[in-house]
Symmetry: C2
Subunit: 307 residues, 2 copies
C-alpha cells in the first residue's frame, strides 16, 4: 500500500493547517544576535554563515512545530554557502523531522534517468558506500522539473514507492514570466502547464493513497488564481504545493481554488511572510520566532476561512 | 566587452579538441585501490566516499589537462554523498581550474528570479558574508533549465556579465523521453525545444563574444542528430554543450552537425567513455587515468575528423 502524501495530509488534518513554512534563510533575514553567535563559533566565513542559517531555522522550527505540518527549505539558499550550507540543509531537515514536521526540499532537480537516480537517492533515498547505507539528505518530498519527460521522473517514483516519499513537479510556477513557456498552447489546444499536469496524473496513476492523491504532486503558483482553480479540477489525484502566497502577492482568496471540496488537496507556502514577520511587526529581533508563530497562526486562520 | 564562451573557445583552439570530459564519479567506476585509500583516511562513510571521488577526479584531471579544454562535473553524483560530496565538487572545480581547465557544472538549476540569484551567486559568482566575499563553488559555466522563463534566467546573465561566465540552457536533451515535451509543437508550428532555443538567442543577444557566440549556450543531445544539425543552423549565436556521445549511443557522425563551418560552435561531452576506459580496455586499475587519456585522444581524433 502506497501512502506518500497521506503522511503530509494527516499532519495537515492533525494541526488543522494547510501551511508549509518556507525556510529560505538569507543572511539579511537573520537577526544580528544570531549571526554574531554563529560567527563567534565558526568565524565570519561560509561555515559561520551556515551556522547562522541553522540557528535561525532551529528557532523557527521550535516555534512552529506544533502549529504547522510542514517546512520547505529552498536548496538555493543553502547552496549559496557552499558545502557548509548544504550541511546546514542536512541538519535543518533532520531537526525538523525530529520535531515531527514533514520536510519538502525545494530543489527543482531534473536530469536524465541515470543521473536522476543519483538525485533521488541523495534527497529521498539512501546512498550506498560499499556495504554501508547513509541518508545523505533524507527529506520527505522533493520538488522537480519535468522538462526531460518520463525517464527523468521514473527513478524518483521507484524511491517514492520504496520509502513512502513524494515529489512535486513544476506545473505552473508563481513568477511573472512563467507564462512565456508554460502558457503557450499546443496544437491540441492545451497549454504546456496543463500538459505537464496531465503527465503528473499519469505518473501518479498507480500510486494513489487513502485521500485520493498520489505521490506525484504539482507546484502551482498562487499568483495565477484562475489557472490554479482550473488545474485543481483537471488534476483530481495531484496534490498541490502552492507558492506565491504573501510576499509574492497571493492572498487567501487567490489560493481558495487550490483546495478540493473537503478542504484538502494543497499546502500553501509562505517563506518571507513567516521568516521576516519580526521585521514587519517591528518587534525585538530576539522575538523573531514568536513573531513567526503569530504570523503562522494568522495565516492558518485566514486559510481555514477560505477552504 | 563581454567574452564569456570566448575563454572556452580559445582553450578548444589551443588544444585542438572540442571534448569536455564528464566527471560523474560513481563509486562503482572508481578503482578499489583509490576507494581503500580514501576509506583508510576518512572511514567507510559519506566523507570517505567523497574523498574517493576527489582522488579519482584528481588522477583524471592530471592525465587529461594538457589535451582537453574542459571538464563537466555532474552535480548529482556529488550530492549523492551529501555535504561531503558537495565539498568534493568544490575541491574538484578548484583543482581543475588550477590545471587550466574550463569547468562546466552540470546542475540544471532553475527557480524564480530571487532564488535563481542565490544559485547564480553560489555557482558562478560570490557569496557575501557581511563585509567578506567567498566563492562557494566558483565554476566557469552552469547548466540551467529554462522552464520558468526569463526572470529565472536574468540573475544568471547579470553574474555572467560581471564575472565573464556562461550558462547552458536545456534545449533538446539526450534522453529517450526528451521528446514527450520538447518535441511537441505549438500553434506556430515550432517545437518546445526550438522555442527554448529562440529564447537562448534572445537572452544572449546583447552578450556576443569575439567568435560570434554569446554567453548563453544550449544543451542539445547527440542522440538526435537531425535536430542537432537543424538547431545549429537556426541558433547561430548559441554555443552548444552536446551530451550523449559514447555510452549513450551518439557517435562522431551524429555530432558532426553540432559544429559551424569553422569547426567551432560546440563542445562534446563524454563521461563514462573516458572515466571507465580502463574497464573497457581491461587494463590494470592503477592505469585508469592513462586509459582515460588514451580514450580522450582517440575521441579528439575522431571528432576532429568530422568537424
Amino acid at each position: 500500500m502506497i501512502m506518500s502524501f497521506d503522511r503530509l495530509i494527516r499532519k495537515i488534518q492533525e494541526k488543522n493547517n494547510p501551511t508549509v513554512a518556507g525556510l529560505d534563510p538569507k543572511l539579511a533575514y537573520i537577526p544580528a544576535f544570531l549571526r554574531e553567535e554563529a560567527y563567534a563559533r565558526c568565524g565570519k566565513t561560509l561555515e559561520g554563515a551556515a551556522e547562522a542559517l541553522f540557528l535561525f531555522n532551529q528557532g523557527l522550527i521550535d516555534a512552529l512545530c506544533d502549529i504547522v505540518p510542514a517546512v520547505k527549505p529552498q536548496a538555493a539558499y543553502y547552496e549559496l554557502y557552499g558545502w557548509a550550507g548544504m550541511r546546514a540543509l542536512c541538519r535543518t531537515i533532520a531537526y525538523a523531522q525530529e520535531k515531527g514536521l514533514f520536510v519538502i526540499t525545494d530543489g527543482k532537480r531534473n536530469d536524465i534517468g541515470s543521473t536522476m537516480e543519483a538525485y533521488a537517492l541523495a534527497h529521498l533515498g539512501a546512498t550506498q558506500v560499499e556495504e554501508e547505507s547513509f541518508e545523505a539528505f533524507g527529506t520527505d518530498a522533493l520538488t522537480v522539473n519535468g522538462y526531460l519527460g518520463s525517464d527523468g521522473i521514473q527513478p524518483l517514483l521507484k524511491v517514492c514507492d520504496e520509502k513512502d516519499k513524494g515529489i512535486f513537479v513544476l506545473v505552473k510556477t508563481s513568477n511573472p514570466s512563467s507564462g512565456e513557456l508554460q502558457d503557450r498552447t499546443f496544437e491540441d489546444g492545451l497549454s504546456v502547464s496543463r500538459t505537464m499536469g496531465t503527465m503528473c496524473e499519469q505518473w501518479g496513476s498507480e500510486r494513489i493513497g487513502a485521500f485520493g492523491y498520489s505521490s506525484v504532486g504539482a507546484v502551482v503558483g498562487a499568483t495565477y488564481p484562475q489557472q490554479l482553480a482550473d488545474l485543481r479540477k483537471e488534476l483530481p489525484h495531484t496534490f498541490f504545493l502552492v507558492p506565491g502566497y504573501g510576499a509574492q502577492g497571493g492572498g487567501a482568496k487567490d489560493v481558495a481554488g487550490a483546495f478540493d471540496e473537503k478542504g484538502l488537496g494543497a499546502v500553501i507556502n509562505s517563506s518571507r511572510g513567516i521568516m521576516c514577520a519580526y521585521q514587519k511587526e517591528g518587534c525585538a529581533p530576539e522575538d523573531y520566532a514568536q513573531a513567526a508563530r503569530r504570523e503562522a497562526l494568522r495565516m492558518r486562520n485566514e486559510l481555514n476561512s477560505c477552504r
